[in-house]
Amino acid sequence: MKMIEIESLSKDYGPIKAVDDVTLSIEEGEVFGLIGPNGAGKTTLIKILVGLSRQTSGRIFIDGVRDGGRFKDVRRKIGYLPENVAFYENLTASETLRFFARLKGVPFEKYRGMLETVGLDAGEKKVKKFSKGMRQRLGLAVALLGDPRILIFDEPTSGLDPRGVREFQRMIKNLKEEGVTVVLSSHILGEVQEVVDRIGIMNNGRIIASGSFRELLETVGLRCIITATLSIPDESVVEEMLNAGAEEAFLDGARLKITCANRDMAKILAGLAGVKLKDLEIKEPSLEDVFLKYIEEKREGGGSQWP
């Protein structure tokens, strides 16, 4: 079931197209990562989704409701963590959570423990004394109020320490298991790669590519590089690797260098299992490599060879 459907969506600010003819759909229970350089239009797209901005043209369906973000009943199903989340400085964390729980029409008592869930043990401290990371954790607690079916996070790990990032990733995985649909926009691509099912790359207001990480990797043709240091250099291993699917393999002294597509890596590693090795190093392309490849291509060509 499609939870979010976006059809030919555009948003103009005068002559500037912040979002340009975006079409996208996100399934229920899917974790979708929205990535792109600064000013790509990610935040504008998210703001239209949650009803903070109106599109110039195009349609959005949220849980089957057209322009659902504008309607109170649909917004009840959405949890949103904005970029640079801010709160009322003179309220404490507990008061903040109580205020938003009441706005959502859910009992505060049920969610009182949410502050601990997100690792915030400063419930009675005024928000103005909070660090950026603490504000971010409070933002997560507020977004999770009312057990929303859709969660929209704009730069959710900004300000979190590595432990907080790990906890956040674990939380996303748990939410996914519960069938929650998550839209995640982030600059920190390594974190996105860890948790998402599919990724949409935005540039200049357009979605220039979307798919799973593996699909994107295959499309851009980035290769894995395996460097194995052999105990006994043997030329026949090169032949074995080429037969196993390596695109390139050569021996440089005792070091065997192999280039292969990500899909063939398992076969090649299986082939290396019978070879006595001193050392093994595997370099897989990251989402960052994929992203940069797409963006560079866009800059160089103006168009793209990819769908």
């Binding site: 903070l52 003179n90 706005l103 959502k104």
Partner: protein, 273 residues
């Protein structure tokens, strides 16, 4: 419009502003000024000391015209644009609330603060007057407190409109100062100039209508018309037609509360955040 949401937003607004030291400072200043006026109000007549409610009201009207609009504008100018700049508005509007509910909730919350500041300031002065000079003309004083709150609500409504249309807090500040200067200082000068220029050709009806276009004048007349001593000594009876009772000026103030508020809701609903 859900009353539950209105009350929640109002409560938050009240709670957040109540802890704002600027608001507390203003309330204290308000109290001190009110007590000062109650005591020194009749100094021009060569007398010092607390006088009756009627004389005090006449003095406090001028204080209200200067202070209450200023406090109201200060309370409301950043209600929308300030939240937008601070980053809290986006989160608030992503919740199941309508923009009209948010705006009305803010208005109710800020009006409550205004009411408490005014009631505290003038209420304390009222107790001192009652103890010193008795409770004669107490009704006029209570009307004066109520209309002071109403005057504050007018400027709160204007401040919210200003806050909804301003893209930046600095512009809202400039707008708030301009509104205050225009209505409190410039408008009456213009009216005076107009009367001199037209050599009094403006009829009393037109003149009264022009007065109602300025909420501070409507407030002043609403209070002074109720005091017989002022009505005769200031010649108001000859300037203001009989048909223009206190109720007419109260109605003018009510329109001044509603119109900018409706304008603010219309603008707020259309804006992107």
């Amino acid at each position: 419009m859900a009353i539950r949401i209105l009350l929640r937003v109002a409560e938050k607004e009240f709670l957040n502003a109540r802890r704002d030291t600027r608001i507390i400072a203003i309330s204290i200043i308000f109290t001190l000024l009110a007590l000062g006026i109650a005591y020194f109000g009749s100094a021009p007549t060569g007398m010092l000391g607390v006088r009756g409610f009627d004389v005090t009201v006449a003095s406090l009207v001028s204080l209200s015209i200067f202070i209450v609009p200023l406090v109201a504008l200060l309370l409301g100018y950043d209600a929308i644009v300030g939240e937008d700049e601070m980053g809290t508005l986006g989160l608030l509007l992503s919740f199941p609330v309508t923009r009209a509910e948010v705006l009305m909730g803010k208005f109710i919350g800020l009006s409550t603060i205004l009411f408490l500041s005014t009631a505290m300031g003038y209420g304390l002065a009222g107790i001192v007057i009652a103890l010193a000079a008795g409770i004669e003309e107490l009704g006029s004083y209570l009307v004066f407190i109520a209309t002071s709150v109403l005057l504050g609500m007018v400027f709160l409504s204007l401040a919210l409109f200003l806050s909804a249309i301003s893209g930046q807090k600095s512009r809202a500040v400039f707008g708030a100062i301009s509104i205050w200067i225009f209505f409190v200082i410039i408008y009456d000068l213009i009216l005076l100039g107009l009367m001199i220029f037209t050599k009094g050709a403006l009829g009393t009806k037109v003149f009264s209508l022009l007065l109602m276009l300025n909420p501070t004048d409507a407030f002043r007349l609403l209070n002074l018309l109720g005091l017989e001593v002022m009505r005769t000594s200031l010649g108001l009876a000859t300037l203001i037609p009989e048909a223009y009772s206190s109720m007419v000026f109260a109605l003018a103030l009510a329109v001044w509360v509603i119109a900018p508020l409706l304008g603010a809701i219309v603008v707020f609903r259309k804006r992107d955040y």
